[in-house]
């Protein structure tokens, strides 16, 4: 590269803009005739010559992507189904199309997806053959017939049952048996307390009696306390109505608190009695040789 080449490079912008004086233009032409390098420079500057050889453009893009954002194929795979279905916005579709045009793998994938999109719905229906309908009708008809037959057999059995002369006696027997089982066994009531089961019965009765007495006592106390409070309230109402309103409010709060206390007391008592009954049952069963635990 000599001084004439440098002069040519300095004047290149003016040459391209066609703003060079005629003398300088002639000198530049003479230099171009002699210098191959400056001729190529002019061709590149005027767009007549590509700087990159054919095919090197793609590899350059890949190289750039590799050093910057990475390959776009993975991101294309995330959106390619929407692209094939036409669900992407126009700008997104355009960007994706540009990648697919220049990427062989993604282009193949897109083509197969397009073909599958058309081919898969055609796989929904497969002809099972001419004999299939007959078989289905036969099995469904058979199923319907067997359902009717079962129902008819059930009604026939019931009809025959209720027409029997002894049906009333049998029904009365079944009902009596049910009532005895549901309400208690009279034979058990007459058992002596010498048997272990009889002992359980006696102890259970004791627990029940004491529980009933305690509950009755608590309830009576609560009732009398409520009655006294009501009497006091009625006296106050007679004296001063305004004061009575405040008293009624306080009484209501006290009553509410008392009821809550009683409820928790009742439940504690019931839990305690239940545990005692279960313990007695366990002890009695143990004496009979049965190790059973209740919770």
């Amino acid at each position: 590269m000599n001084t004439r080449c440098r002069d040519f490079e300095d004047r290149l912008d003016d040459i391209l803009a066609d703003a060079l004086p005629s003398e300088d233009l002639r000198a530049a032409g003479e230099h171009l005739a002699e210098c191959r390098r400056c001729r190529q420079l002019l061709e590149v500057a005027t767009g007549k010559m590509d700087l990159l050889p054919a095919g090197d453009g793609q590899s350059l893009v890949r190289e750039i992507l590799h050093r910057t954002s990475g390959s776009g194929c993975e991101r294309v795979r995330e959106q390619i189904c929407d692209f094939v279905d036409g669900l992407l916005p126009p700008d997104g579709a355009q960007i994706l199309a540009m990648h697919i045009e220049n990427c062989g793998e993604c282009a193949k994938l897109a083509r197969i997806l397009e073909e599958l999109r058309a081919a898969l719905p055609r796989m929904a229906e497969i002809d099972p053959g001419p004999s299939f309908t007959g078989k289905v009708l036969a099995v469904t008809g058979q199923s319907e017939r067997s359902k009717h037959e079962r129902r008819a057999a059930l009604f026939g059995w019931w009809d025959a049952l209720i027409r029997r002369p002894r049906f009333a006696w049998e029904a009365a027997y079944v009902v009596a048996l049910f009532l005895v089982l549901a309400t208690g066994n009279p034979a058990l009531m007459s058992m002596t307390s010498s048997a272990p089961l009889g002992d359980v019965r006696g102890k259970t009765r004791q627990v029940w009696t004491s529980a009933t007495e305690e509950l009755t006592g608590l309830s009576t106390a609560a009732t009398s306390s409520a009655a006294e409070a009501a009497a006091r309230l009625s006296q106050r109402v007679a004296g001063n109505p305004l004061q009575a309103r405040d008293s009624a409010s306080r009484l209501w709060q006290k009553g509410y608190q008392r009821a809550a206390d009683l409820a928790s007391l009742y439940s504690a008592h019931l839990r305690d009695w239940g545990a005692r009954v279960l313990q007695m049952l366990q002890d009695s069963l143990k004496s009979l040789g049965l190790n059973r635990t209740f919770s």
Partner: protein, 193 residues
Amino acid sequence: MDLAMLLVRCKTGDELAWEALVRQFQARVFGIAFHYAGNAEDARDLAQEIFIRIYKHLDLCGDERMFVPWMIRISRNACIDHLRRKKARPIPSDVAVEEMIHLQAAGPNPEEHWMADSRKRLIHLAFRKLTALNREVILLREILGLPLEEIASMLEIPLGTVKSRINRARIELAERVRALAADAGEPAPLGRP
């Protein structure tokens, strides 16, 4: 024939209407059974079982718009029950299915005729090679065309998961088709450059 009218008549016990309903939907039910079972013999028994279930529970089906999703749901349940039962017995491997399909391609039966189309056979083979879940989402969405909401409800998974799962399954299927086509020596099995 009008599906609404057909359903009303079927529910009143009209046997001819039932026959018409069977004829109208037998190809679709058989298709579902075939894609789940993987072979025509099991699919035929399965399709009959599905129709018995439909027949027994037809009163539970709503109006005609609900019929197809309801029918697909019943078919799917019957197929899953069938596959569970089959688990106790040896399951045919993918290779066996492949061989069977090749054998079927020479036969005269309708489903064999269907499989005789090499492109469909290729897709079916690729479809059979998918994982069970991917196969099911492809069947429900791409083959049967169920709405995403219906599939989400059927598979009991969130809607967004269904969508991403379908996309992944489609790509997997496309890649399997391409691989099978390359193995079979078909230069451009589905793609037409």
